[in-house]
C-alpha cells in the first residue's frame, strides 16, 4: 500500500512543481516512463503470483529504464532512431499487456 501512496505523492509533486527538464533528456523521457511502467506492472503481477522480490523489482526497474533510454539513444546516433524507438515501445507495450492480463486473471478470476 505504501507503494501506491508513494506513487500518488509523486504524481502530485509532478503536477504542482513544474520543473524545467534539460533539453538533452527530454526526448528519452517518454520511453523511460514506459519502461518503468513495464517494471511496475511486472512487479504487481509477481506480487499477485506470490513471487515478488523487492530487490528484483528495484534492479528490473532501474535496468529497464537505463536499457530503454540507452537503446533509443544508440538508435539516434546510428540513424535508426525512429525504428528502434518504435521497436522498444512495441516490446514494452507487449510486456505491459501480458502483465495486465495476468493481473486481471488474478483479480477477476476471468
Amino acid at each position: 500500500m505504501y507503494v501506491v501512496l508513494a506513487a500518488a505523492f509523486g504524481v502530485l509533486c509532478g503536477l504542482i512543481v513544474d520543473p524545467d527538464i534539460p533539453v538533452y533528456v527530454q526526448p528519452y523521457m517518454p520511453i523511460a516512463v514506459v519502461a518503468a511502467l513495464d517494471a511496475v506492472f511486472g512487479a504487481a503481477r509477481a506480487k499477485l503470483d506470490g513471487i515478488f522480490d523487492q530487490r528484483q523489482f528495484v534492479v528490473s526497474f532501474v535496468s529497464n529504464v537505463l536499457v530503454a533510454a540507452l537503446i533509443v539513444y544508440l538508435g539516434d546516433q546510428l540513424g535508426v532512431g525512429g525504428q528502434l524507438s518504435t521497436g522498444v515501445v512495441v516490446v514494452l507495450g507487449v510486456r505491459i499487456f501480458g502483465n495486465v492480463a495476468a493481473i486481471r486473471r488474478h483479480l477477476f478470476r476471468a
Binding site: V3, G10, L12, G14, V33, K47, G81
Partner: protein, 239 residues
Amino acid sequence: MVSGIRPGRCSPVSVVIALLVGVLGFTLAVQLRTSGSPDRLATARQDDLVRLLSDLDAREARLRQEIAELEETRARLESGAQGAEEALAEARRRADAVGILAGVLPAEGPGLCVVLTPTRADIPASALLNAVQELRGAGAEAMQIRDGAGLAVRVVASSYLVDASDGSGIVSDGTTLTAPYTLDVIGDPATMRTALRIPGGVIDDIRRIGGTVAVTARETIAVTALRHDEGLSYAKPTS
C-alpha cells in the same frame, strides 16, 4: 495480497522502492504536462521531426493540387454561367427588337410626329404609303398611324394601305382610317426630317396633291398600337 509487504516496511529496499515509484509518478505527471504543451516539437527527436516534416510536405502538395483543381472547376463554372447569362441577355435583346419590328411590343423613343391634313383634296393611300416608305428608308424603327377618329394602326413589314372603296378614307390592315393622319415614327429625327423634305419628296408631293404636312420632332414618341401576330401561313424558315 498486500500483507506480505508490511514487515519490510522500513527496510532500505522498501525506501528505495518508494523512491523509485515516486520518481516514476513525478516523471509521468511531468511528461503528461509536457506533451500537452505547445513545446512538443522542441523536445521531439530529429527522426520524428523529419518524418513529421515529410508528412506535412506531402499533405501540402496534395492540398495544393486540390486547390488547383477546385479553382479550375470554379473558373469553368463561372465562365459557363457568364456565357449562359450573356446568351440569355442576347436572346432577350433579340426578342425585344424582333417584337418591336413585328409590332407585338409597344415601343418608345425619339422620333417624329408627322400630321398629314387634307385641305383641297383627300390624301390618297399612295401618298401615305409613299410617306411610310420614305420614313422606313430613313431608318424608322417603329411606326403607327393614328387617324382623326382616334384609331391607331401599327405599321409593320406586312402592312398594306389601300384607299377605301367608298372613298371615306384609307384602309390599313383591315381598319379604316380617316383624315387627318398622324404618323408617329421612332427613329433618328434629323435623318427622317431630311428625308421628308427632299425636293420632290413626301412634303412636296402632299402639297401638290392638296394637303399640308406638319413635322414635329419629339424626345419621346410612344408607339403603343399593337398588331395581332397571326403567324405566317406559307413562308417557313429554310435553316
